[in-house]
């Protein structure tokens, strides 16, 4: 794993939903190194700690990264005020990324809310991926058309204002009645991941999840972003930034 810290220009900025922005950033060397599921650690002007934001797309030819983030607090709000031509102070690419199988394998990617963006680059690694995307309501739906460029996509909303009323787990359960994927990938709120872990276990399908936790250094030195994991019967405190953010779901103690 290799990473670097520097200033990188924003070459495209779009507001893709209420309080949700997409930045395309020119960062040749980071794009070369980056893998699906990794994240960038971004400095927000005026705030002490960096913010971890997952990588949504990697374009090695153009040397760009795309990140999609939601305004969660004052730091991400400050970030949202940056414009094309401004530079972003990033430490990246960080974390381990998803384990990608052969392109012809059957993969399902599942995103909940702001957990949707990192799944896009994963979906792009497969010939016919199935995307299951969950949102609070119609106004929060993002990236559906992007996923449809690379495969199938089904959307659920909590209030039924768009797509199917309910949760991503409802769509997954129906999907699993018809098909058995080789792997499922997921990112979203912990309760969602916990339910998916149970479903994947029942169906004997491998599930990789991307976790979120408040971070400090982002590279595994400060040990603040702890999560409980269990491997080979031994429970331990792993760190989302370095040991993750991607974990085998069966190892995560939700």
């Amino acid at each position: 794993m290799s990473y670097q810290q520097g200033l990188y220009p924003i070459i495209e900025k779009t507001a893709i939903a209420k309080n949700t922005y997409s930045f395309t950033i020119l960062a040749q060397e980071i794009a070369e190194m980056a893998k699906p599921g990794q994240f960038v650690h971004v400095k927000c002007k005026g705030y002490f700690l960096r913010r971890p934001i997952s990588i949504c797309e990697i374009d090695r030819k153009k040397g760009t990264l795309r990140i999609v983030f939601e305004i969660r607090g004052e730091g991400t709000e400050a970030l949202s005020h940056l414009n094309v031509g401004d530079v972003v102070d990033m430490l990246a690419p960080l974390g381990n990324g998803f384990d990608i199988l052969e392109p012809d394998k059957k993969a399902v990617v599942i995103g909940g809310g702001i957990g949707v963006p990192p799944m896009l680059e994963v979906a792009k690694q497969y010939q016919n991926p199935m995307a299951i995307l969950g949102f609070r309501s119609a106004s929060a739906v993002i990236l559906e058309q992007d996923f449809k460029q690379y495969g199938r996509a089904a959307v659920s909303t909590d209030d039924g204002s768009y797509g199917r009323r309910g949760f991503v787990s409802d769509i997954l359960n129906d999907y699993l009645k018809e098909e058995t994927p080789d792997i499922i990938y997921a990112c979203g709120p912990a309760p969602m991941l916990k339910v998916l872990k149970q479903i994947a276990k029942e169906h004997g399908v491998r599930l990789q999840v991307s976790l979120e936790e408040r971070m400090g250094c982002g590279i595994g030195a400060c040990l603040v972003c702890a999560c409980r994991t269990k491997k080979d019967g031994k429970e331990s405190m792993s760190h989302v930034c370095k040991d993750g953010p991607v974990f085998e779901a069966e190892e995560v103690q939700f």
């Binding site: 794993m1 290799s2 990473y3 670097q4 810290q5 400095k43 705030y47 002490f48 700690l49 960096r50 730091g75 430490l91 936790e213 408040r214 971070m215 400090g216 250094c217 982002g218 590279i219 595994g220 030195a221 400060c222 040990l223 603040v224 972003c225 702890a226 999560c227 409980r228 331990s236 405190m237 370095k242």
Partner: protein, 303 residues
């Protein structure tokens, strides 16, 4: 080029910049960004006799100009450190400082003994961690307990001994004098200030541990004041830390009385802070016509 070298308790440092314990792990992660040889020294992650899992997350909360942490001394234990982490570090051409903590006087002594026969250059005794119930702070808040633990460890530690002091006391100079009297070779200060943040929506503390240690630029003036007071109270070298983020901060801390400085939380804003501090300090000394960095130590001219 000014001469940045300093000597702390007989140990030569190429520059006065040390990364602070808990913020730099065992060095591996930051070495992907720059060689560790650029640093005067590394104060390694606090290590205890047995492995410790630490506190539940969230362990960090942002604050105005700083952060709270409640890691709780997560570490692999001293034996694991000596066997798997130290061999990697020993040829990095920087001073290695083992930061040690424990539950009891005997714990501290055993760890100090184990470290004494290793390639570690110095020991930093952590009697000031606010994040574990018996993780040291209990020893660091009274002159008697601080003095007695230093006396016990001193008799069983063959390495130069730095004692890391807590700011969560009424008079830090009394504690500094007490540890000096029992044989400390140097003091480092300040550890974090105990703090708290609450999410007003959930009415829950942001940290799962409820309280945690405050660090970052927010604590810098407190640290400068305490270093200044301690410098006047003791004769042993003082290592100053607490909120240093720029070369100007480092110069200020040295003028207050620090013979060397440590950089911690600022690493999370900018991983290159220690290198930028060294460069900036060097340029300023040249500009001022000061040949040796030690010439500025304690040179504040109080009113």
């Amino acid at each position: 080029m000014a001469d940045l070298s300093v000597n702390i308790a007989g140990v030569p440092f190429k520059n006065p910049i040390i990364t602070a314990s808990g913020c730099f792990g065992f060095g591996k992660e930051y070495e992907k960004l720059y060689p560790l040889s650029k640093l005067g020294g590394i104060s390694l992650k606090g290590t205890t006799l047995e492995e410790r899992a630490g506190n539940p997350a969230p362990r960090i909360a942002e604050t105005p100009a700083g952060m709270l942490n409640s890691v709780g001394l997560q570490n692999p234990g001293i034996d694991h450190f000596l066997k798997y982490d130290l061999p990697y570090l020993k040829d990095k051409d920087t001073v290695l400082i083992a930061n040690i903590a424990g539950h009891s006087v005997e714990d501290y002594c055993e760890v100090a003994e184990k470290v004494s026969d290793s390639d570690i250059d110095m020991v930093e005794l952590n009697i000031s961690c606010p994040n574990v119930k018996s993780g040291g702070l209990a020893f660091g808040v009274s002159c008697q307990s601080a003095g007695s633990i230093v006396k016990a460890v001193r008799s069983r530690c063959k390495k130069p001994l730095i004692v890391k002091l807590s700011p969560n006391v009424t008079d830090i100079t009394e504690i500094a004098r007490a540890v000096e009297a029992e044989g400390a070779d140097s003091v480092s200060l300040i550890n974090t200030l105990l703090g708290m943040r609450i999410d007003i929506q959930t009415r829950r503390p942001v940290l799962k541990n409820n309280v945690g240690g405050l660090s970052g630029p927010a604590v810098f003036p407190v640290a400068v004041r305490m270093v200044w007071q301690v410098k006047q109270a003791v004769g042993i070298p003082v290592i100053g830390m607490g909120g240093i983020a720029t070369w100007k901060d480092a110069v200020e801390m040295m003028m207050a009385g620090a013979d060397a400085i440590q950089i911690g939380a600022a690493l999370f804003s900018d991983a290159y802070t220690p290198l930028k501090v060294a460069e900036g300090m060097n340029a300023w000394l040249d500009e001022q016509g000061i040949r040796h960095v030690s010439e500025i130590v304690g040179q504040v001219k109080p009113w």
